[in-house]
Symmetry: C2
Subunit: 561 residues, 2 copies
């Protein structure tokens, strides 16, 4: 029981100005949380009770799916991270100990779980196996953004499973998906949650998914059709739509144009041709080497930075930034007139978007002001490799249902399942003996994350109204809220609370007497905290023989004591 | 349910050689824990189930006592620690962020809870109030020692209460004590746990206590009598026993003696007088200033380093180390012949133990080899202040029961309650309005700690036998352990497990088939893990119509299915 006279929490009249995130501001205002520092939150009793309810649902569903709960350390040795080559990631905290010793406070626990399970996995009979824990994690975010949704300190449920091969994982995956589905159903958000493919880009892997809950303020955009097709916009695949690819290729022509064709609109008007027939090229600089890479695509599409960044990171293991005017000058080209023409011999590694294959006889630049090109075709261009680099548009057609347009919806990630391949099992040397007593060193790993504190933030947003958060009854900070009017009725309230708790209910007792708090404020707090059963014990209700019970969505009534 | 085929834990034949602590070694051997690094432990599923059971008992008792659970941050801002002057404590980790930013991973949470509650405490009506949380804490121990009992990473239940004055705390304290008593009773250790006064030394405060559980391998020594008198040896008060204080003081005499009276035995023989009549003096050097301090006491007593260290730290805020021969030469004295004689004018600040007041006409040194003094009395000595600096001896008489000797017992601390005075509330500027609407700035704080992971280590030691840990049934990793013989009987075992769990029991299913594990090993593991009900389902038991049930301390029997 939470007794408000003994925990003198109070809600504020206005939002404190510390968060750039609407729901986090309201949670601060409504007495759920406090900020210890930017992006690290104190969970006050009201919020913590919700956390424990959510955690328990997740725990039960993980247990039911056969995952075993344990508790790994937060402080981890440097050697673990050196083993996997992750010691120097700047977003992961390093903690100095005595002398030269350094530790890490864990941002994730692959580096713990792999050596632990490595000890226990000896025979093929020990596979598959799976564990999880629920614990705080830490990231040295340079500038965290979304209040509770992405902090320096957060609570994660992270599970890990170990398999002899991908086939072994297949049956397993259904349990994991089912566990997530059941948990999100019990938490009341499944109707608006989808399972989006998490690796649609460079690595195609049907065994990785993100669970995304639709929210107007979500930080991701989900692309879906009415079938199961569902992707994060960052990852969604391009749906080929043929343009004029059956046309005959004409000879390339260099032409003098004008200097002000500096956007797609002006280009299409000038050339009197559709945007898709314009060749658009963007050049980036690689972080360390200073080399340049470029990407060309149809003029009606845009570069999906995430897809291109992932692709380049795999090729070069370097970060990319947009080339500026000085870079372009150095290369020997100029913005709005860039083209990867073989003739131009620019010192740039050009990649082509798959969309280029659907168009013949492009218009585009010729790498100098007011110099253009018409009838460009792939054979005129110096393209190293083709790949899907474009960002889906709302007019795309569904890949699965050709007569359907795609739907774009904002969403927030609430969970994920990722295939880790042998990225961790190999450096830690995991092996097992197979049926023929032969040593095998291929142990496939998956991880399963639910950011519990993030999920709670998403749920707060999902269930939020102007009057408070309408938590599902079993998730709310309490099932019942008792307001007592008149100090002399406190004893009756305590009796009632004891009766309720004896039947498995939970109670917040609003016994804040003589604090200049009127009934209105107390009733208001009950709504802010989303308690679905409000009880009032007052001289008036006692006169009527009992207490007043107001259940969510019902008329209030007097219940005889 | 813990299904051993899916979490392939295995116990070891011998103890891994990583711990200097017997029980920690056995816990490693028995598959309870793993070491991530020195003094930071991974809690494997078996151990974690015990942890959660213990945590739940503590949580329920704290809730019953009216404390409200919350969850504070681990990552804390530097400013908090600068506010209380605790930023530069070397045993507290500092964590670098971006640029010059530094954080701390919290070793304790006074610095969080005080500003949080400071916001809510506005009126005298808001006091007393109290909160707690259960979370990991971190200390940068230079060399941790006792395995699980004192690590770099540990789990604490820390509660905090806020009061207008000490009187307000008095009624409160009984609840807190009762909560601890009830929790330790439910955990099965209360019969061997005592509440020892925690500040018997320099600060006399009846409102601070340590809860100590008697254990042969305990790191503390508890001094007690058959009444409630009970102290940590470090803190236990001296019990005055008068010697010859009624004798007339004689004139001091300087005498030539011999150079080999270099221990108490030789001195008593040489002077033909009892040890208590010898004046013993020890000199220490102060850490920073290099000044010297000394302490004199009766020859039958020894200096209690902790008492003296606490006293000197209050006076000088410096650490002390024993003076060496060079120091003594510099001062103008020599070991075994030191005396704080006024005549000698040594450049040392001398303190006197209270015991000096019970003796007249001491024998002692005269600050040179083979030079001694007889008939020394307090008026001959340059003593700045008297205090209780001695260490209790087993022949001490009880303070409360004059006909009783004290008992000394080894113990381990499992909890504490400390008066924090206004040490934190003042720097954080806590105030409230009293009945007369006057601002008051005196908010008394107490903290209440239970080191949950330490307590679990103490309990493991307490319930440990050669065969395993005989956990109380409701604390054990499970109430039932099912061993299945014959793959074809697995289904029956799963049915039974479901029946048991439906009635609130918890189960470990030992379905490790075909792993060269005999029945003996499985039965052995059941004992190691302290499960009080062992069930065997085998062709033989099924022939007899059911399964074999072996309850702890009973004969095994067949239970019909």
């Amino acid at each position: 029981m939470l007794q408000l006279s003994k925990f003198p929490i109070h809600t504020l009249k206005t939002s404190p100005k510390v968060s750039d995130n609407r729901s986090t501001s309201l949670l601060l205002q409504w007495g759920y949380i406090r900020q210890a520092m930017a992006w690290a939150y104190e969970f006050l009793p009201i919020w913590y009770r919700v956390l424990r309810n959510i955690e328990q649902v997740i725990r039960e569903e993980m247990d039911n799916a056969g995952y075993h709960e344990m508790l790994m350390t937060i402080l981890t040795p440097r050697e673990y991270w050196e083993t996997t080559g992750r010691w120097d990631i700047p977003e992961y905290f390093k903690v100095p100990g005595w002398g030269d010793t350094e530790y890490r406070i864990a941002p994730t626990n692959e580096e713990n779980v792999t050596p632990i399970m490595g000890e226990f996995i000896q025979s093929y009979k020990d596979l598959p196996c799976c564990v999880y824990h629920i614990q705080k994690k830490f990231r040295n975010e340079k500038r965290a953004k979304s209040g509770l949704l992405r902090g320096r300190e957060f609570i994660m449920k992270d599970a890990y499973s170990f398999h002899r091969d991908i086939a072994d994982f297949d049956s397993f995956y259904l349990w994991a998906q089912e566990a997530y589905m059941k948990a999100f159903t019990r938490l009341g958000i499944w109707d608006d949650t989808v399972m989006a493919d998490a690796d649609g880009g460079a690595i195609s892997d049907k065994n990785s998914h993100e669970f995304q809950t639709f929210l107007e303020v979500g930080e991701d955009i989900i692309v879906q059709d009415s079938s199961w097709y569902c992707y994060n916009l960052e990852l969604a695949a391009w749906v080929p739509d043929n343009k004029n690819s059956s046309e005959a290729e004409r000879e390339v022509e260099y032409i003098d144009t004008v200097d002000d064709i500096v956007n797609m609109d002006k280009m299409t008007k000038y050339f009197e041709a559709p945007a898709w027939q314009m060749l658009k090229t963007v050049i980036y600089k690689l972080g360390d080497s200073g080399k340049y890479v470029g990407v060309s695509l149809r003029g009606d599409l845009s570069v999906n930075d995430i897809k291109f960044w992932k692709f380049i990171r795999q090729k070069h293991n370097e970060e990319i930034t947009l080339a500026n005017e000085a870079d372009l000058e150095k290369i020997g080209t100029v913005r709005w007139f860039i083209s990867p023409l073989t003739d131009a011999q620019l010192d740039v590694e050009f990649y082509g978007d798959e969309s280029l294959k659907t168009v013949k006889n492009f218009f585009g630049g010729a790498n100098a002001i007011a110099k253009s090109t018409k009838n460009m075709n792939l054979s005129d261009l110096d393209i190293t490799e083709f790949w899907d680099f474009n960002e889906p548009k709302e007019w795309f057609t569904s890949l699965n249902i050709p007569w359907e347009k795609l739907t774009f919806k904002r969403a927030s990630e609430v969970g994920n399942i990722f295939h880790l391949w042998t990225k961790y099992s190999r450096p830690f040397g995991l092996t097992y003996l197979d049926e023929n007593n032969k040593m095998q060193d291929q142990v496939e790993m998956w991880c399963y994350g639910i950011g519990v504190s993030r999920l709670m933030g998403v749920m707060a947003e999902y269930f939020m109204t102007e009057k408070g958060i309408t938590w599902p009854e079993h998730i709310a900070p309490a099932t019942h809220y008792i307001i007592v009017i008149g100090e002399e009725n406190l004893e009756k309230a305590i009796e009632l609370w004891e009766q309720l708790e004896a039947t498995g209910k939970t109670v917040i007792l609003d016994d804040r007497m003589g604090r200049k708090l009127g009934f209105g404020q107390k009733a208001w707090d009950c709504e802010l905290w989303g308690i679905s059963n409000r009880i009032v014990i007052s001289p008036k209700t006692l006169e009527q023989g009992g207490y007043e019970l107001l259940e969510r969505g019902e008329e209030s009534k007097i219940v005889k004591i």
